[in-house]
């Protein structure tokens, strides 16, 4: 399944959130989507998922806009936010509602609940879930249709260290099954352990899109965080306590 973003541009009044963004996450690989707050990551993902209309450019999945997909959950599973469930509805019922829209049987609901470790809490109201549990429920919703492509916006938010470790394993397992995973995160050290390719954006524009291996070789083994900071803000920065004192 091929995701293609071509010349994608979105403006909110005088602010350009995304500008002429073109890239295509490679099928069957985990692509990390990295950028500072307000760089345009979420806007880009929302345009891909048909939640936000681009001012120009296209975002397609196998040549079709999201809105043109027949039963999209079977093709692409997405997690855009964890607070997207009715607080009075149980976790299982929240997923059953989504499954019913997409003609997905209830047994799949129980499968994904088990996959994200929420079986025991499935009958409880979502309003009583911790943020990490909601995050897991949102992940379960993304996996409901057993899609070939998975889009995750900040999936590690709210997860404890065990949860982050679990998420890393889940993403790798999904990729090992041949799925395309497109994931944004601020946790660069964590992301570096998970992704095959990286897309870095700044101020809504593409900075680089390349395999992690090549990027690390090219930068003499610098960390993803260092690479990101250098690529998105080329001004010299304090790297030690001594430097900080000098800057002060």
């Amino acid at each position: 399944m091929l995701i293609e973003l071509t010349g994608l541009t979105k403006r909110y009044g005088p602010v350009t959130a995304v500008e002429d963004l073109t890239f295509s996450p490679a099928p069957g690989r985990v692509t990390g989507f990295v950028g500072a707050n307000g760089a345009g990551k979420s806007t880009t993902m929302r345009m891909l998922l048909g939640l936000t209309r681009p001012d120009s450019g296209t975002a397609t999945i196998d040549g079709k806009a999201y809105a043109e997909l027949q039963n999209p959950l079977r093709s692409i599973g997405a997690m855009v936010d964890s607070n997207v469930f009715h607080p009075k509805r149980s976790g299982r019922n929240a997923l059953r509602v989504i499954a019913r829209i997409a003609d997905i049987p209830d047994r799949r609901v129980d499968q994904v609940l088990a996959l994200v470790g929420l079986t025991d809490a499935a009958g409880r109201r979502v309003g009583g879930y911790s943020m990490g549990m909601r995050q897991r429920l949102a992940l379960a919703a993304a996996l409901l249709g057993d899609p070939a492509t998975i889009v995750l916006d900040e999936p590690a938010n709210g997860l404890d260290p065990h949860g982050v470790h679990w998420l890393r394993g889940l993403i790798r397992a999904l990729a090992s099954e041949g799925r395309t995973v497109f994931v944004s995160s601020h946790l660069l050290a964590e992301l570096a352990q998970t992704i095959d390719d990286v897309v870095i954006i700044a101020n809504g524009r593409l900075v680089t899109h390349e395999p992690m291996v090549g990027l690390l070789e090219r930068t003499n083994g610098a960390s993803l965080e260092e690479i990101f900071l250098n690529l998105t803000n080329p001004t010299p920065r304090a790297s030690s306590h001594h430097d900080m004192e000098e800057l002060a």
Binding site: L51, L69, I98, R100, I101
Partner: protein
């Protein structure tokens, strides 16, 4: 489309709002004939007779209508309040199909609540009449027509609720606007325009006319009133569809 309608029904069923609201309505639909029976013949209230059953059947109509309207409002505007609109939109990216499913689901719920209110109100009313030694005549006094019209009226309330919620996208705004419209705008408008008959052509007046068993000159016939209400709902749905072309989530 069938899956979407089932999903909308499941959404309404899986929170306590439906059971709570309908429970209160049925309780009051049971209590009203009992109170009516106890108070009949005192003050301005006429004495009980077999025709009183018609009044007992229509007594809970406004309350039931308000309840179904609220369920409809929450079914559409509530999606924005709780942000469930995101998961809905990801599963079905064509908002008009979702809106159509909501309208169909609320029609089903309105009809079901109407039938339940009919049964409860008629049962309690019949028991009150029997207690007072009066004949129960369910096929006279326009009762069959009222029993048939009640579910249709409640379905219309549900449709209007969904349409208002879809336009305003906010439960607070939708409830507030509905109350202001019903109790302020419709009360003032006929006076301001100096056209008293206008009241019958506005949504609340039209809803009242649908249940009117004996329309007089200047009042709308029940079928005309129902058609008018459908027109208001269609106008709101069209407004929502037009706005959705420009609005984003």
């Amino acid at each position: 489309m069938r899956s979407l309608i089932y999903a909308e029904l499941l959404k309404v069923r899986t929170t306590r709002m439906l059971a709570g609201t309908v429970g209160v309505v049925l309780l009051i639909a049971t209590a009203l004939p009992i109170f009516y029976g106890a108070a009949a013949g005192s003050g301005d209230l006429p004495s009980l007779d077999p025709a009183s059953l018609a009044g007992m059947l229509t007594a809970p109509s406004r309350l039931a209508g308000g309840a179904v309207l609220l369920i409809g409002l929450l079914a559409s505007a509530g999606e924005f309040r709780h942000r469930t609109v995101y998961t809905t939109r990801l599963a079905e990216p064509r908002p008009l199909r979702v809106l159509a499913a909501k309208l169909a689901a609320m029609t089903v719920i309105g009809l079901a609540v109407g039938v339940a209110v009919d049964i409860v109100a008629a049962g309690a009313g019949g028991a009150v009449l029997a207690h007072h030694g009066l004949a129960i005549e369910p096929f006279s006094h326009g009762i069959p027509r009222l029993a048939l019209v009640m579910p249709l009226v409640l379905a219309l309330y549900g449709v209007l609720g969904v349409a208002i919620g879809a336009v305003l996208r906010s439960t607070t705004a939708a409830v507030g606007a509905t109350l202001i419209w019903a109790f302020v705008v419709e009360a003032i408008l006929p006076g301001v325009t100096r056209i008293p008959e206008l009241a019958n052509w506005l949504p609340t007046g039209a809803l009242r006319e649908v249940l009117n068993t004996q329309p007089t000159a200047g009042q709308l016939a029940p079928l005309a009133a129902a058609t008018l209400l459908l027109g208001y709902a269609a106008l709101l749905v069209a407004t929502s569809a037009a706005l959705d072309r420009r609005r984003e989530l």
